[in-house]
Amino acid sequence: MANFSLKVNGESKEVDVDPSTPMLWVLRDHLKLVGTKFGCGIAQCGACTVHLGDNAVRSCQLPVSAVGEQSITTIEGLSENGDHPVQKAWIEEDVYQCGYCQAGQIMNASAFLKQNPNPTDTEIENAMNGNICRCGTYTRIKKAIKNASSISNA
């Protein structure tokens, strides 16, 4: 066990955990931020996606000891009032069914749009291919990303 100082959603947090503990479980078990979801544990489904700095990462593969000074943003901290353009677009397109994978989809999409504000369909498909939606909301996710892209650029 060791102490780590983390910057999560703009706040400083202290945790005392094994250095190998993935951020996914630090967030869920220790910081009680359960919006980040456990899906596969091997970086294949994208449900656990968070932002490390500006990049989307799979928190199930990110040991707490590797975070250092970098800031972590989770779905709970993506916007103060749930009004990030991607969140708004998700509501507008009524994307979700069960909703479980959507935090990961939204975190991946928001990091992607920051890097590529005007993506093509193929670019969206490539960027989102690591995020599985078992309910099959892929066509709506694509629409929502395009919609968010136009909200951001408006």
């Binding site: 066990m1 955990v17 094994d18 190998s20 503990t21 993935p22 479980w25 869920r28 078990d29 220790h30 009680k32 931020l33 359960v34 919006g35 979801k37 456990f38 899906g39 596969c40 544990g41 091997i42 294949q44 489904c45 449900a47 989770t74 779905i75 709970e76 993506l78 749930g82 969140q87 998700w90 509501i91 009524d94 979700y96 069914q97 069960c98 909703g99 479980y100 994978c101 959507q102 935090a103 939204i106 369909d121 969206i124 498909e125 490539n126 989102m128 291919n129 690591g130 995020n131 599985i132 939606c133 078992r134 309910c135 099959g136 909301t137 892929y138 066509t139 709506r140 996710i141 694509k142």
Partner: protein, 734 residues
């Protein structure tokens, strides 16, 4: 105007009361089913009288509708309250949908399965809304001393034009609560619906996009430990021994012990189908610590029954298909002599593998069992059955068992089987502490309760004019006999024979989205395509000829045929027109068509496959649906799109195979699920507008798309696909 009774034998389906602080509450049964017309009253199910939901009208005019069903992704939490709100006559903006307080002792809950929620709830929800409206109107009529019949209700406002009176629901709610519940109420004409049939966004949307703790796996309680299980690595094996002492000393680990999740004398319910009697439990402070202990644990297992492999399943099913059934499931005419007379005979065999459900939220359950009582919370579709098993296993009366239900991160049938709840209970009882049991993805994928593996053999005979004169189908599955013998084309062919077989396997199986239909639809619709081609006919025309036969002169007793050929043909014609089907390629795309009826709804689809890319991709799917009245088109289309993507994905990429009883796929690195790139570029849905009472949509769009895909693949590559997943047949999709 439909008049509908709210009572039967002096018992009321509804109960009204005054809200503390002002307003009205009306309790009703979410389960109320068939219309209580006089000729049907003797058939009223007892569930009609179980008050299990409420609507509240506050003195501020806000209407709260309690939904007793947890959400599993089919959007009933939004769509069902829309029905109540429409009959009530309130503005949707002033409706709040809440999850009813969950307690199985009070709330007789229905199963979220089989796409039946809307179909079963329709009448009861309408009666509830109409009754509340009627009572508000009666209160206003009394207050204003006017005739009830002259009062109108619109968007939460009660008006009487002649006396120039007008007031909101809130002002009349307290008075309405003091009036008796009417014995008969008028339902709206369906043409006057103003909420039903409009797009309403998911009421939980804002909570989902902000990561609120909605799901079972998100449950956190004071003093709660994390528990994990280790189950046998193979079907046919059981626990023998382990190195528990080495693992118990690991950081954060509280205990490691074998459990009898089920004992010899535990009374099992059907929902215990996937039960594994003996497991190992690990209990610790955090999930990661438990996962580390799980890795370090060495368990010895012993063989108790045959260790089955995929080759054995395949061979055994083929063997069954080569036998004859002593008692056919259905027999019309004489297929043997018809095949002798036939000009052309075609025979094909289709197969599909076992499939895991793979809900994105792995199985999990919270349990807090003490000597006095047992509390549970988690994602489950069948709490009433779990409660019975728990009562037997824990030796505790059901009154002391309380099961709460959380939102579910997907179901697809998996959460009908609550064995994880029993495991959680036994672990908590032993630890004397609250625990949350969490499966890893590997636990979840290798635990069983799979979609059965299936094979089906079709043989069709055509006369020299290309008419279908004989149809022989043999179906077989693992622990499941596959066929719906009275579905199409039964009733449309003079000589028809259906035989079905079940292969006993120790690989456990259960319901998986659109059970049986999820395979047999694709096989049948691909076979029909080949038969139509052999007959030299357009595949849509060929099907319409058969429906025409079933309409005009059905074979066998018409009531035995489990489909309505008029509605069936209706969706096929609709999709033909919308897709501009003329049998040719459109925009360089290869086209396939399919139609199927299941779960009380009719679906026909045309699928366009791009052929100009190295790896063909689904350009577009046109989907025509007859599910009666569509409550919430935006949500309905979401279900349709999801079903289509699910069908394409599983038929193309997914399979669970076995070697010596061991599942050969444990996680998404080798178990392939459809992803963004492989999804259709566009899906367009169309509904038949016929005013018929609504039926469900959680399942019906999934089964037929597999046939449409197989038929388009053939047009694209010249290769027919008989074995799922198609990717194993050197398909070029993907």
């Amino acid at each position: 105007m439909t008049l509908i009774k709210t009572t039967y034998n002096r018992r009321s389906f509804l109960k009204s009361g005054t809200l503390a602080g002002g307003g009205m509450i009306l309790g009703f049964s979410w389960l109320a089913s068939c219309k209580p017309t006089p000729e049907q009253v003797s058939n009223i199910p007892k569930e009609w009288f179980d008050i299990n939901s409420f609507l509240k009208i506050g003195d501020n005019g806000m209407v709260t509708i309690m939904s007793p069903n947890p959400e599993i992704g089919q959007n009933v939490k939004t769509s069902m309250p829309m029905i109540v709100a429409d009959e009530l006559g309130v503005d949707w903006k002033n409706v709040i949908v809440e999850q009813a307080p969950l307690n199985t002792d009070i709330f007789q809950r229905q199963l979220a399965g089989g796409s039946q929620s809307i179909r079963v709830g329709w009448s009861g929800l309408r009666i509830a809304g109409a009754t509340a409206r009627h009572m508000l109107v009666a209160a206003a009529a009394e207050a204003w001393q006017v005739d009830e019949a002259e009062i109108t209700v619109n968007a939460g406002v009660i008006s009487h034009a002649a006396s120039n009176n007008s007031t909101g629901f809130g002002e009349m709610a307290s008075k309405a609560a003091t009036l008796p519940v009417p014995e008969e109420v008028k339902l709206k004409e369906t043409s006057n619906f103003d909420i039903i049939g409009t797009d309403k966004r998911n009421v939980d949307g804002p909570n989902i996009v902000t990561g609120k703790p909605l799901f079972g796996i998100d449950i956190q309680e004071e003093g709660m430990m994390i528990a994990m299980i280790v189950h046998p690595p193979a079907f046919g094996m059981t626990y023998k021994s382990m190195n528990a002492d080495d693992v118990k000393t690991m950081p954060g680990i509280k205990d490691v012990f074998p459990i009898d999740a089920y004992k010899e004398d535990t009374e099992k319910q059907w929902s215990d189908a996937g039960a594994i009697n003996k497991l190992v439990a690990i209990v610790g402070e955090s999930t990661w610590q438990c996962m580390q202990a799980k890795k370090a644990l060495n368990v010895t297992w012993e063989e108790t029954s045959a260790l089955e492999s995929t080759e054995w399943h395949d061979e055994a099913l083929i063997k069954l298909l080569n036998t004859s059934s002593k008692q056919p499931a259905r027999k019309d005419g004489n297929v043997a002599s018809a095949f002798k007379k036939a000009d052309k005979v075609i025979e094909r065999t289709y197969s599909a593998p076992f499939l895991a459900h793979n809900t994105m939220e792995p199985m999990n359950f919270y349990a807090d069992v003490t000597a006095e009582r047992a509390l549970f919370n988690g994602p489950i579709q069948t709490p009433e059955f779990l409660e019975k098993t728990l009562s037997s296993r824990l030796g505790m009366p059901v009154e002391k068992i309380d099961i709460k239900m959380s939102r579910m991160g997907g179901g697809f049938g998996r959460r009908l089987y609550g064995t994880f709840g029993v495991e959680a209970a036994v672990i908590s009882q032993r630890m004397q502490t609250p625990i949350k049991l969490v499966y890893t993805r590997e636990d979840d994928m290798t635990q069983g309760t799979y979609r059965p593996t299936y094979k089906v053999k079709y043989k069709a005979g055509l006369d020299k004019d290309g008419n279908l004169i004989a149809w022989h189908v043999k179906g077989a599955g693992s622990n499941d006999d596959l066929l719906f013998e009275n579905r199409f084309p039964a009733g449309a062919v003079d000589n028809y024979l259906a035989e079905k077989f079940s292969l006993e396997t120790n690989v456990t199986t259960g319901a998986w989205r659109a059970p049986r239909s999820n395979f047999v639809a694709g096989a049948e619709q691909a076979f029909l395509d080949e038969v139509a081609e052999t007959a030299g006919k357009d595949p849509i025309e060929f099907r319409l000829e058969l429906f025409d036969r079933a309409i005009k002169n059905p074979v066998g007793e018409p009531e035995k045929n489990d489909y309505d050929p008029v509605r069936y043909a209706g969706v096929l014609k609709l999709v033909r027109d919308k897709a501009g089907w003329d049998g040719s390629m459109k925009n360089g795309a290869a086209r396939g068509v399919s139609a199927y009826y299941c779960h009380n709804s009719y679906v026909a689809q045309v699928l366009d496959l791009a052929t100009d890319t190295k790896s063909p991709k689904v350009n577009k799917v046109w989907c025509a649906v007859d599910c009666g009245i569509v409550i919430n088109p935006m949500a309905a289309k979401n279900q349709i799109e999801g079903g289509i993507i699910d069908g394409i994905g599983h038929a193309t990429y997914s399979e669970m195979t076995f070697k010596d009883g061991k599942p050969q796929h444990k996680n998404y690195d080798t178990y392939r699920l459809i992803r963004h790139k492989e999804a259709p570029k566009e899906i367009e849905s169309f509904f038949v507008d016929n005013g018929i009472d609504p039926t469900g949509l959680g399942e019906p769009s999934m089964p037929p798309i597999i046939g449409a895909l197989a038929n388009a693949l053939y047009k694209s590559t010249g290769q027919r696909h008989y074995n799922q997943p198609f990717i194993t047949e050197k398909s070029v999709i993907g």
